[in-house]
């Protein structure tokens, strides 16, 4: 199942970030810091999805030969 | 080529002078408030600054039209690509013009307007008279809280202000967006439901709608059916006359 390996790594990373996000939001009292932290986390998650799941690099590298 | 440049410059200068003569005409509305003079000054300044730019383009295009024409389209012009100092000089001149206008009268004029810390208003901080303005479809109501009177389209039928007094309008709307505008004062502020906006003016001359229609409170933001009829006359009077008017309104 090696072809799916990247997908599972990203999935784990996304899950961890989501849970961290949830706990961070519950614990962080300062509104501004919470906002910034959540923005950072959401940006990271979006970047991971776009880079690996949506194959963003193929936009400039072209379609890879499978 | 030098000949063409000289010709264009001559036409440019002539057009500019002619334009400047037109601009000295009296084309601005009546001066009603302190800010009107400020506005007129800035307006004229910008007009005189814009005029040479405009006439430059007119002279250039117009001269080219007459001097460089050909009948058949067979001959071709010199292969100039503009890869020399000309574009850089042009960029420098236009950028410095833009930045000049941006700073003066733009940002400096803005700073003057916003000197009043209480919000959008400008002018002197203190106000001799407060008028609460309420816009609704399709008329205005003016409340003078200190005097305890209210005028609207039924009662009083005009906005009366004392001359040489700083007036702060506190503008509200009960339904849709309106805009409170008195052309003689060159001032305008939107009436937004749910927030109060401010406009500070200091009338410097007496006048009334009957004498000059620039003395009117006009809605300037499209507000539906009778938007064009959302007008109330404005009358600027001497202090004593204002007091008399207040008493008269109270008596009613």
């Amino acid at each position: 199942m090696s072809i799916f390996k990247v997908g599972w790594f990203v999935a784990v990373a996304l899950a961890v970030l989501t849970v961290v996000e949830y706990i961070f939001a519950a614990e962080m009292a300062d509104a501004t810091a919470r906002f910034l932290g959540l923005t950072l986390s959401a940006g990271t998650k979006a970047g991971l999805i776009m880079w690996f799941f949506m194959h963003l690099p193929r936009v400039w590298r072209g379609e890879e030969v499978h | 080529m030098a000949r063409h440049i000289v010709n264009i410059v001559v036409i440019w200068v002539v057009l500019t002078v002619l334009g400047a003569l037109v601009l000295t005409l009296d084309y601005l509305p009546v001066i009603g408030a302190e800010y009107s003079e400020e506005f007129d000054g800035i307006f004229r300044l910008l007009a005189f600054m814009g005029l040479p730019v405009l006439t430059f383009v007119f002279a250039w295009v117009g001269y080219s039209f007459f001097a460089f024409r050909q009948r058949t389209g067979e001959s071709e012009g010199p292969a100039w690509w503009g890869r020399n100092w000309v574009p850089i000089a042009w960029l420098a001149v236009t950028a410095s013009l833009a930045i000049t206008v941006m700073i003066y009268p733009g940002l400096t004029g803005l700073a003057k307007l916003q000197a009043d810390p209480r919000g959008y208003g400008w002018g002197e901080t203190g106000a001799d008279l407060v008028v609460k303005v309420t816009g609704f479809r399709w008329s205005w109501a003016f409340e003078y809280p200190e005097q305890g009177i209210t005028v609207n389209a039924v009662q009083g039928r005009e906005l009366v202000l004392p001359v040489d007094a700083t007036v702060r309008f506190e503008v509200n709307s009960t339904d849709v967006v309106h805009s409170f505008w008195i052309p003689a004062f060159r001032m305008k502020i939107d009436a937004i439901p749910g927030r109060t906006t401010y406009m500070v003016v200091k009338p410097v001359a007496t006048g009334s709608y009957a004498e000059d229609q620039a003395f009117r409170a006009q809605c300037a933001e499209l507000c539906g059916l009778d938007h064009s009829k959302m007008v109330l006359p404005v009358r600027v009077v001497e202090r004593e006359e204002f007091e008399a008017w207040v008493q008269q309104m109270k008596a009613q």
């Binding site: - | 800035i42 389209g73 890869r83 960029l91 236009t94 339904d175 229609q213 009117r216």
Partner: protein
């Protein structure tokens, strides 16, 4: 027959879709215990189903939809003029469809302007009641906005861009057909608005008024959201086409300036048009579901709309005028028989406009009561946009100087663009400057200003381009004398009308009013008379176009001796444009360079030696 079948099946399946949508809404509403009919929701759902039905019926089902179910596709093949009435993916057909449609819309909206000027010739209400005036004014506004957004991009752009870059078609031909066929429902909805109470809010649709007003507003919102979709999909298509389908050798540095301007305008459309859609969607949600985006009492804010709306609608004026600049420069260089002066700076100017246009929207809101700290930055950025715009002027003026001006009708229109836009640009300074804008905002000064920029800058370029491409599109030549008559008539009528309009604005005549203070009567009468003259000039245009299309003299492949690629193929071009791609060897504007060649076109065309007409 083909045309009739195509339109009839489109209308029929559109109607079926509408009633299916209304019926489904009724079922769901009854199931949840509501009355079956709610105007806002039923019409919206019905419209969405009807729109899909219309598209499928007009031919999208056969050409595209079947593919989604794994079925083989087919296209309706229609001969001759009938190809303009089917789902046709040829960019040349679509370009002409767009152009004819929007010229008709332009003339209609112009008639509405005549009605307005008739009413405004005197103070007081003569012909129209206040609500009729508002309806006419709103419809004039939105139809003209639609013309300005779509006529040059959809018409001239679709027709010329693939030809100019040596491509066979657009990157997504079927998407291109879709964007055109989304337009008829838009036109239908807008023209139906008077039946449902008329537009009360003008084309800007400011809430809370647009939430409270008649159901005509609902049609407006649905129409404009659809229209925004055509704009976005069209922009997307142009970007992909220009990036990927350039002929070999057509580097970015050799791209004709009109293609550059289309590239910039497409990015603007792609990025910002969602703002209009979002703003109108919020109004729709407030209307249909009682949401509170703009209801201050429930925590909403009317200014939210103005920010979102102008976030689109200021860049929109660049969507309109940037292709106008491109066309003006393109025509000026060909008809001056001189290379485009400072080509790279002109491209830089276009890109500079692209960069700044998204950062200036709040200059429409200087009197709106927005926070104080926003005024300064928006003032400065708005003034700064005059710097890239100035580069367009540099290029135009530099090209004219010492040129060999061949003053054909298209050239006259192109020079008029520079002339008009100079005035429109200078008056823009007054409006960008907060101290003057406070008085001038929402007056006829603004009306004059934006007519000078949009009509003077874009519509003049549009007409220049129509004359320029007329021989290419139809294979026939227009009547030059009538063309010049049209130009001078329109130019004079336009300038008298709109130059005078500044003055009542300064004196305190606000815009969008059916009635004005009696002291402004004299100048308004003159403006009205000039406006009627301006309107009459289009009779010459229509006569010239119709008669020349039917029986004008046959045009040569390259009547203008232009060097760009679209003129190196026959007039009108074959379906595949070029049998094989041209090979681009040099700059498209190398006039006055002995032996210069722009491109080599593979098949010998009648009268077509190597492109660029080397002699």
């Amino acid at each position: 027959m083909y045309a009739l079948i195509s339109i009839a099946s489109g209308v029929a399946s559109g109607l079926i879709g509408f009633y299916v949508g209304v019926g489904l809404t009724a079922l769901v509403r009854v199931a949840f215990g509501h009355s079956p009919w709610d105007a806002q929701i039923s019409i919206t759902v019905g419209y969405i189903f009807g729109l899909v039905g219309w598209l499928m019926g007009i031919g999208m089902w056969g050409a595209w939809g079947r593919e989604w179910f794994g079925l083989p596709t087919y296209a309706r093949k229609a001969p001759g003029w009938q190809r303009y009435f089917v789902f046709n993916s040829d960019h040349k057909v679509i370009g002409i469809q767009y152009l004819v449609t929007f010229v008709v819309v332009f003339l209609l909206a112009g008639l509405l302007a005549m009605v307005m000027r008739a009413e405004l010739a005197q103070a007081g209400n003569q012909f129209l009641s206040n609500d009729q005036y508002n309806a006419v004014m709103g419809l004039h506004g939105i139809l003209m906005i639609a013309v300005a957004v779509a006529a040059v991009i959809g018409g001239i752009g679709n027709y010329a861009v693939p030809l100019m870059i040596g491509a066979q078609d657009m990157a997504f031909p079927r998407l291109n057909a879709l964007t055109y066929w989304l337009n008829p429902p838009v036109a239908l909805l807008l023209l139906l608005t008077p039946a449902l109470g008329g537009l009360e809010t003008g084309w800007t649709a400011y809430p809370p008024l647009s939430v409270l007003t008649e159901n005509a507003q609902l049609l407006f919102n649905l129409a404009i959201i659809t229209f925004g979709l055509t704009s976005i999909l069209g922009g997307l298509n142009f970007i992909a086409t220009i990036i990927f389908l350039r002929a070999p050798g057509m580097t970015w540095g050799r791209l004709p300036i009109f293609v550059w301007s289309m590239f910039v305008a497409s990015w603007l459309a792609l990025l910002f048009t969602q703002g209009f859609a979002a703003a109108l969607l919020m109004v729709l949600l407030d209307r249909a579901f009682g949401m509170s985006f703009f209801n201050a009492e429930a925590g909403g804010d009317p200014l939210l709309y103005q920010h979102v709306f102008w976030f689109y609608s200021h860049p929109a004026v660049y969507i309109m005028v940037v292709p106008g600049f491109g066309l003006a420069l393109e025509l000026i260089t060909h008809f001056s028989r001189k290379p485009l002066f400072a080509y790279k700076y002109a491209v830089g100017g276009l890109l500079g406009i692209l960069g700044l246009s998204g950062l200036v929207w709040a200059h429409h809101m200087f009197t709106s009561g927005m926070p104080n700290y926003l005024h300064g930055p928006f003032l400065a950025l708005t003034e700064a946009i005059s710097i890239p715009t100035g580069l367009i002027f540099l290029s135009a003026l530099g090209t004219l100087f010492m040129g060999r001006l061949w003053l054909k009708t298209p050239m006259l229109f192109a020079m008029a663009v520079i002339f008009n836009f100079a005035l429109g640009g200078v008056t823009g300074i007054f409006l960008a400057d907060v101290p003057t804008d406070i008085h001038l905002h929402d007056t006829y000064f603004v009306v004059a200003h934006f007519h000078y920029t949009i009509v003077g800058g874009e519509i003049f370029a549009l007409f220049g381009a129509i004359y320029y491409y007329f021989p290419k599109m139809t294979g026939r030549m227009y009547n030059e004398t009538l063309g010049k008559l049209h130009f001078w008539w329109m130019f004079l009528g336009f300038n008298v009308t709109f130059f005078l309009m500044h003055w009542p604005g300064i004196l305190g005549m606000n815009r969008r009013i059916a009635d004005y203070p009696s002291s402004l009567e004299g100048v308004n009468l003159i403006i009205s008379i000039a406006a009627f003259a301006l309107g009459a000039s289009f009779l010459v245009f229509v006569y010239n176009m119709v008669v020349s299309w039917v029986r004008g003299p046959v045009a040569e492949a390259n009547p203008w001796r232009a060097r760009t690629l679209e003129w190196q193929t026959s007039s009108p071009p074959p379906i595949e444009n070029f049998p094989a791609p041209p090979v681009v060897r040099g700059h498209p504007y190398e006039y006055g360079v002995p032996g210069a060649v722009h491109a080599i076109v593979p098949t010998p065309m009648p009268g077509g030696a190597p492109a660029g007409g080397a002699k």
